[in-house]
């Protein structure tokens, strides 16, 4: 009788184990500045003669997928990576903004692919076309003058005189030509009942670099204002690749 009960109990415990074992994959985004965790509103060394603060950094990633040769696993069409409201202290900055995909079939992949920006198919639409649970419904991320979503907002303040951070800067990227797609070679093994992850660190100082390695002169050119002059924001879009490291 005792045996019976034990067998019964064992069965109850083991039963759920008979279900198909699924896997979880996480994308962890960490914002850094000069290699250190980036906390919004912290004073940051910038040029020799002035400091800056970053008060907002967020962006769309789209067409996220895992690849192995001809086989692809689409993970999501669009996500909004929101350092602005996440990186409120060093602890959070170290932890990283995490996007999680579960219920995946176990398999091995050797590439991760995603774009920063909105795909052209979606970029002909407007926020009102999406329901509120879709990040593309954000009305503040569409610019009619561009006929485009704002792909990324990067903004902050800078010192005009030492210790005085009253002046602001902002660079908002957008338009189809600034969409950038990244394919990262990395072995990702989705194991049954396991969580695997890729950590993407984005260094914000590198985002603000000119081609020659010098930093943007934010004091004299604090915004990308004229929709026809995409100089600084093109630079930011081109800087993503070097600004990101993958683990």
């Amino acid at each position: 009788m005792g045996r019976l009960i034990i067998t019964f109990l064992a069965a109850i415990i083991l039963l759920p184990g008979c279900k198909e074992d699924k896997s979880t994959f996480e994308l962890v985004f960490k914002a850094t500045y000069d290699g250190e965790p980036l906390v919004m509103f912290d004073d940051l060394d910038y040029k020799d003669d002035y400091k800056i603060r970053i008060t907002q950094s967020d962006f769309y990633i789209t067409d996220v997928k895992l690849i192995n040769g001809d086989s692809e696993l689409p993970l999501s069409e669009v996500e909004f990576v929101d350092f602005s409201s996440f990186n409120i202290n060093a602890e959070k900055a170290l932890e990283g903004f995490t996007v999680s995909y579960d219920e995946l079939d176990p398999a091995d992949y050797n590439q991760l692919q995603f774009s920063i920006g909105v795909q052209p198919e979606e970029n002909v639409m407007k926020p009102a076309d999406f329901s509120s649970n879709n990040p593309l419904s954000k009305a503040g991320y569409y610019w009619d003058a561009w006929d485009s979503y704002i792909f990324a907002k990067l903004q902050g303040t800078f010192e005009e005189t030492p210790g005085n951070f009253d002046a602001s800067w902002f660079f908002h990227t957008g338009k189809d030509e600034l969409l950038r797609t990244f394919t990262i070679d990395t072995n990702i093994s989705l194991g049954a009942d396991e969580t695997s992850s890729v950590t993407i660190s984005m260094d914000h100082k590198s985002l603000l670099e000119n081609q020659d390695g010098s930093l943007f002169d934010i004091q004299s050119n604090p915004t990308n204002h004229d929709p026809s002059d995409i100089g600084p924001i093109q630079m930011i879009a081109d800087n993503y690749l070097n600004a990101m490291t993958f683990q």
Binding site: M40, F41, T55, S85, I88, P127, A128, D129, F130, S131, S132, S137, K138, A139, G140, Y142, W143, D144, A145, Q155, G156, T157, F165, D166, S168, W169, F170, P222, T223, H225, D226, P227, S228
Partner: protein, 367 residues
Amino acid sequence: MKYWVLILFAGLIVLPGCEDPPGEDMGVSLTHISYNPTDYEVPAFPEFPKMEIPADNPLTNEGITLGQHLFFDPILSADNTMSCASCHFPELAFTDANAVSVGIDNVAGERSSMSLINSGFFTTGLFWDGRVMTLEEQALLPVEDPIELHHTWPEVINDLQESELYQRLFREAFGITSTSEITKELAAKAIAQFERILVSGNSKFDKVLRNQTAFTDEELNGFNMYFDVETFGFETPDAECLHCHSAPLMTSGEYLNNRLTPAETLEDFADLGRGAVTGVPFDNGRFRAPSLRNIALTAPYMHDGRFQTLREVLNHYNSGGHPSPNGNPLVYPLGLSEEQLDDLELFLHTLTDTSFYSNPYASNPFN
């Protein structure tokens, strides 16, 4: 003496004179009133997002009628003097013309009443600070708020259960079978239904976009500044309004600091706004960018009603506002001339749409 006994007897017979079996509940049966709810279709505007209506609270004419009565009925206040409409007047696009609202005890709150027009479309939180997410949740609050209706729900429910009018309206709206099923949750659902039908999307601005009419030169100039439009040969400065007051609802729904208050640190705000809700210091002094639809009808302006006129608002933005650690970069000195400010103001007037007045539900049913 005999009379006495008779009356007592009569009382005993009549009192439970409702059909419900005794002991089950104390309510009055309502099943003799017919229950045939009819769907209500919210007017749709092509540019607008689809309104997200909770599956458990579909719009019906009967639900809206009930909500309309509750909204305009002082029965919701402790001393029977005030209703929701006392701070949300239909003719003021459902605001109250006060800098800050005053409740039944003549105690002034800290915040200005908000327009309820198009609130069914807002998905990023309600109130200036976004402390509730749904109209259903919101509708529960004013009744017990000490600086608003300062009543208690049990007492309100008691009054509603005893009112023949509300017995009928609740039955017709929700099919309840007994007065004991009249609850604050159902009252809130009905009020939310009423609010969802207060939509506005037929302003001159909308009609111009639909090619049904045209702006004057001045309005067009204002439009170009508002939306940062670059026009060849007719250059206007950018006023940046669109980034925070985005089309079609004329709000981005975001919580931002538009530099109303000079602040050296993030603690220097009399009203912490969003920060009091999230507990994040960067959110201090941030408020929801409100919709600018019908803005000409809703003076005074801002969360504390500090500006009496639209011109004062425009002067604020033109000045670049006050320094503040989390002041938004898009508020900076615009350098607009008086004439350009005139044009921007004329454009803001094209956002007025009084067509919702013609909706029979948008008025006081007791008049």
